[in-house]
């Protein structure tokens, strides 16, 4: 294992020190491992918090700031945060208008956020609504599993719901917008390599030089199939076609097309993939209204990419275009 770290056991704390040093507009509660807006709480604004295991940066801490999240709870690498962290974050951002919890659909995340919401409400009376993302079409049998995983749509949801909250909308309305984003977005990923968890020290799984895993999760969970490596144009089809068929997306739909890097794949390859994704969407008559290309929800050093498509209307597009100022996304300001 070759990593730029001091000690595997201090990776999360050391990274939080870096976030605090690099972004003076943000604050860090080191005891609870919470990154939050320096101007929290904003009176009368719905607070939005998220969180999850670390190792997916910039998700979630890199999305804290104006127009997006108010706070993010950092768990250990690939381990959900504990309820105390969500209680602390909820209290830090509660401006009297309630707090939205954005939770990716993993059993640990869902259970810990549920307990955090119950404890925060019991302690302070704050109104909490949770919205769970579950956009990964790779999980086909959602009846006999823990359900679809929350992946790329989480990034788009945090931006769009964040804008709705920034406009001063109420908790119920912000939560509705968030649910609408989750309902209209689908994702699929592929890994060319495993990732290496610092505390483990060796790759989570083995993939041959000539293989890739289709439908992989963001923690190295196995996907639908292990296949011989193919050119980008074929990989794009394997990722996009199941997404289009699932919602389904139809000719004439407008989408936000998001090609995401899993951490170990350079941007040049993500653009190679994006070109193929755009070609396939055009062939299906799907209009790309906006695009996002880059590593935004990663899996440590995993090489690979995911594609997320979100069907949008004018309202969602307006919220997407609204100003945002966070470490990882900033425009309109």
């Amino acid at each position: 294992m070759k990593k730029i770290i001091n000690d595997p056991s201090t990776v999360v704390s050391d990274a939080l020190n870096g976030v605090e040093a690099a972004h003076p507009e943000l604050k860090v509660d080191h005891q609870n491992k919470v990154i939050y807006r320096g101007d929290s709480p904003r009176h009368g604004k719905v607070g939005i918090i998220s969180g999850g295991g670390s190792g997916h940066e910039p998700l979630h801490g890199g999305f804290v700031g104006l127009g997006m999240l108010d706070a993010a709870c950092a768990g250990e690498v690939f381990t959900s945060p504990v309820p105390d962290q969500m209680v602390a974050a909820t209290k830090l951002v509660d401006g009297g208008a309630g707090v939205l919890h954005v939770v990716k659909n993993y059993t640990g995340d869902v259970l810990n956020f549920e307990m955090g919401a119950e404890l925060a409400a019991a302690e302070t009376g704050v109104e909490v609504v949770a919205v769970v993302t579950d956009d990964d079409v790779a999980v086909q049998d959602s009846t006999w599993t823990a359900g679809r995983r929350g992946v790329g749509v989480t990034v788009l949801l945090e931006k769009i719901a964040g804008a709705a909250a920034e406009q001063g909308r109420g908790l119920a309305e912000v939560a509705d917008v968030a649910r609408r984003v989750n309902a209209n977005g689908r994702s699929m990923g592929a890994a060319l390599t495993s990732c290496t968890v610092p505390a483990v020290g060796h790759p989570t799984f083995e993939l041959g030089d000539d293989e890739f895993e289709l439908g992989v999760g963001i923690h190295g969970e196995p996907g639908r199939q292990r296949l011989p490596l193919v050119p980008a144009r074929e990989l794009a089809e394997l990722l996009v076609e199941p997404i289009l068929a699932d919602l389904p997306f139809d000719s004439g739909d407008g989408v936000i097309a998001f090609v995401n890097g899993l951490g170990g794949t350079p941007l040049i390859e993500l653009y190679v993939l994006y070109a193929e994704v755009a070609r396939i969407l055009a062939a299906h008559g799907v209009t790309v209204a906006r695009s996002l290309v880059g590593p935004f929800i990663t899996s440590l050093d995993m090489a690979g990419a995911s594609v997320t498509l979100l069907k949008v209307d004018d309202e969602l597009l307006g919220l997407w275009d609204a100003p945002v100022r966070t470490p990882a996304l900033r425009w309109g300001i």
Partner: protein, 215 residues
């Protein structure tokens, strides 16, 4: 032979559990690596190490607390320190057990507390029999305690039966297809592996035999 569930007896049981999990940390992590994300042993050991410190603080109290508050404290500590799905599930188990046991020290009260703990796990995790989870070891163990006591058995008889039932339930998870948690994404590929959470439950009941609680 005692037939009473004192604060000291529960203290011994919980510490024996912490020791067993520490001894089996690598095994639990190996089981989790096969069908989960390879952190169950480390997470449970971190939580139970913190729980042992909390038990030290409680034991120093004057008067030392009864069994119920000690279980509650361990539950709260696990919820705050373990993370993942295991933190809320094992934490809720001990929390509900402690709240149900309160000041009572009879074997029947312990059986009722175990039943309340199980109900908490089901409420939070929504697992059913055969989902390949901690439920598959815990539910038979709780039933075994109730059956043994109803048949006039001693606390020691009941806990021995529980330990046997938990181990059998744990072994019975091997051929199952996982339907909950991260292991469920493996589908058929989860067959042939023992569930790590069920394994931890069997360590909990084995710990009862290693400690003073069973007399």
């Amino acid at each position: 032979m005692t037939n009473s569930v004192t604060g000291a007896a529960i203290d011994g049981w919980l510490r024996a559990f912490a020791r067993l999990v520490a001894e089996h940390e690598d095994e639990l992590t190996r089981l989790d690596a096969a069908i989960g994300d390879a952190d169950h042993g480390a997470n449970m050991n971190r939580g139970l190490t913190a729980a042992a410190v909390a038990l030290d603080e409680l034991a120093a109290g004057d008067p030392p607390p009864a069994a119920g508050p000690r279980l509650t404290k361990v539950g709260m500590t696990l919820i705050s320190t373990v993370g993942g799905a295991a933190g809320p599930l094992f934490g809720t188990f001990f929390l509900r057990m402690g709240n149900a046991l309160a000041e009572q020290e009879t074997p029947t009260a312990l059986a009722a507390a175990l039943r309340a703990g199980l109900a908490g796990v089901v409420q939070r995790g929504k697992a059913e029999a055969g989902d390949k989870t901690m439920y598959d070891a815990l539910a038979p163990a709780v039933a075994a305690v109730e059956t043994a006591l109803a048949a006039g058995g001693s606390l020691a008889d009941a806990l021995a039966a529980a330990s046997k039932a938990a181990e059998d339930g744990c072994a019975a998870t091997v051929p199952l297809v996982a339907r909950k948690g991260r292991a469920s994404y493996l589908g058929e590929r989860s067959v042939g592996h023992q569930d790590p959470g069920a394994t931890t439950v069997s360590l909990f009941f084995r710990a009862a035999l290693d400690s003073g609680v069973a007399g």
